[in-house]
Amino acid sequence: MDLFASLGLQIIYGIANLVLISIGLAVIFGMMRVINLAHGEFLMLGGYTVIVSTNNGVNIWVAMFILAPLIVGIIGLIVEWTLIRFLYGRMVDTLLATWGLSLFFIGLITTIFGAQTETTIAPPFGPIFIGEYSSSGYELFLIIITILLVILLYLLLRYTKLGLLARGTMQSAEMAAALGISTQRIYSTTFGIGAALSGFAGGLLAPVTGVLPTIGAVYIGKAFITVISGGTAILAGTSSASFLLGGINGIVSFVVGPTMGEVALLLFAIVLLRLMPRGITGHFFKRSL
């Protein structure tokens, strides 16, 4: 029983982890139909923000909840302003340019901080115990934060003016523009929010994983596959895909080992896309957020 509770918690953490690393990407993808290949580096920048500022005496909670999203969000806005703006409608070029950006950030951070792991910070919670099995308290905390984040995003999209405009632009950008909405501004705001969410996620994960200039590569594979399997509905897509892929990854990892877990996740996603090329939300929950 304790084993199952502990295993269950592990699987739920896997799912929450997938949601966390892909939500920022999903926001940008849902809005602009473009995959931001520099997503991993946004996560990495969030991680660096938290670790560098904590090491310089900033309170860890301030660094995680305020500094990381703020700084990475601003970087996102600058990127949108100087690069993405010129490439709207040119999907392939956007992909390539964001890939260039990804390499640029890796190079920049390596130049500043070196290629080694920056001193890590300890997770602010100790272990918790389920019977004889111990589990990380910080992982439980991350699960709760992820749930809150999804609820917050839902409320933002569903009940605010900005959310309404964003949903309108998502459904039909031309119609929204005809009704007098500056879709340009919606796009740049969304890009900023997506980047901020990524920075936040990267900051939250920094105590678990540590930071490296190339750490983005660890996340992006899973984030991409989750977002693409989910389809364009931001929240429903990411949650349903994370649920499926994270569940499969968790179960296979438990039965066979973590190496096969990732392979199973990938294979499942590829087969899923053969059956549902527009992702899960292209077929189910069509009208959801």
């Binding site: 690069l83 490439l87 392939v92 890939w99 260039g100 950030f105 890796i106 390596t110 090329p277």
Partner: protein, 353 residues
């Protein structure tokens, strides 16, 4: 370009290729020959992406998947079977099979460009993290241990007719260079066939091609498989020139580099990606020797600048400039001739009057 000019260009490329083939081992030192062999193997990889992206319109961000699979399959087959020639064939077939498998799901699912690019990239990244974890002794195929992070040491390549006789690195340069020349002219030929023409029309307009009665999916799958096979061949050449194959072939850096070669060299040409790979091999090895400019920083900037400013790549842009200048010269020439003819007619009329 006109057909005759294109033929001239191809003849020129062939001559340069042959001169390189025989000239390099005679003139350069051993170290340069070995690194040039590596560069040639990367050029074959670039060629494979240039073919499927530039002529098939298939945006594959993970062409290194097949390159790496080719390399690994070669190493495993060579260790188990002993003969290098058989191992190369096995490796190419395995890489092609991987391309068929992946391609079936992507093309028959009718995934769009963006999805396809991202999935292929994800496959590379996941292969990277999976193979890195295979360091335990339980991960082996036949007698070949996969070796995780350290990869597999590739046994020296031997002659097909005598497995106990090994090729020297200089000799192997001939093999790699011949492989490059043969695949290059094979690709050129392929783009001239009916299959190549249809693939090109799919690149231009998929819906229209489909309405003309072609099954777009099977054409794309074939193109992708050919590309995968060529990349697998490149992987075997690479593994032989380095003497080892490691999971690093699957990492993000190498995937990005492959894309950069093709972007810089030029999509829609075959010589562009080859030149791109050779030039970048030189640049990155220069950058690797210093610590001032980080190589990722440099590559990122190059990629961004090219996408924004020279999206077509170097070779097509140069050809365009050349054609435009030539046509301007031609029109100027013919205008002058017209004027002269006109004037003479005027004088004739004047004489008649």
């Amino acid at each position: 370009m006109k057909r005759s000019q294109e033929t001239n260009a191809l003849i020129l490329i062939g001559i340069i290729g042959l001169v390189t083939l025989f000239g390099v081992p005679l003139t350069l030192d051993l170290y340069s020959v070995i690194s040039l062999t590596t560069a040639v193997s990367l050029a074959i990889l670039a060629l494979s992406l240039g073919l499927i992206w530039g002529f098939g319109g298939i945006l594959c961000f993970g062409q290194t998947v097949f390159f790496g699979i080719g390399g690994y399959a070669y190493a495993i087959a060579a260790l188990n079977l002993g003969g290098s020639a058989v191992a190369i064939i096995v490796a190419v077939l395995v890489a092609a099979a991987a391309a068929v498998f992946l391609g079936y799901f992507m093309f028959y699912g009718r995934l769009s460009d963006v999805y396809l690019a991202v999935i292929t990239l994800t496959v590379t990244l996941i292969l990277y993290s999976v193979i890195r974890r295979t360091s335990g002794p339980e991960y082996k195929i036949g007698i070949a241990k996969i070796g995780g992070f350290n990869g597999i040491n590739v046994p020296p390549i031997n002659y097909p007719w005598d497995v106990n006789k090994f090729l020297y690195p200089e000799d192997f340069f001939y093999v790699a260079m011949v492989a490059l020349l043969v695949t290059y002219f094979f690709c050129v030929w392929l783009t001239k066939t009916h299959f190549g023409r249809v693939s090109e029309s799919i690149r231009e307009n998929e819906v229209r091609t489909e309405l003309l009665g072609y099954d777009v999916r099977i054409y794309k799958l074939c193109m992708f498989t050919i590309g995968g096979a060529i990349a697998g061949l490149a992987g075997t050449m690479f593994a032989n020139s380095i003497g080892r194959i490691t999971p690093d072939v699957f990492n993000l850096y190498n995937a990005a580099l492959t894309i950069i070669w093709v972007i810089i060299g030029g999509r829609g040409t075959l010589i562009g990606p080859v030149l791109g790979a050779l030039i970048f091999f030189y640049i990155t090895s220069l950058l690797g020797q210093q610590n001032v400019v980080n190589i990722n920083l440099f590559l990122g900037l190059v990629l961004i600048i090219f996408v924004l400013v020279v999206p077509k790549g170097i070779v097509p842009s140069l050809v365009q400039i050349w054609v435009r200048r030539r046509s301007r010269r031609l029109t100027a020439h013919s205008a002058r001739r017209m004027r002269r003819r006109g004037r003479s007619r005027v004088t004739e009329v004047a004489v008649e009057e």
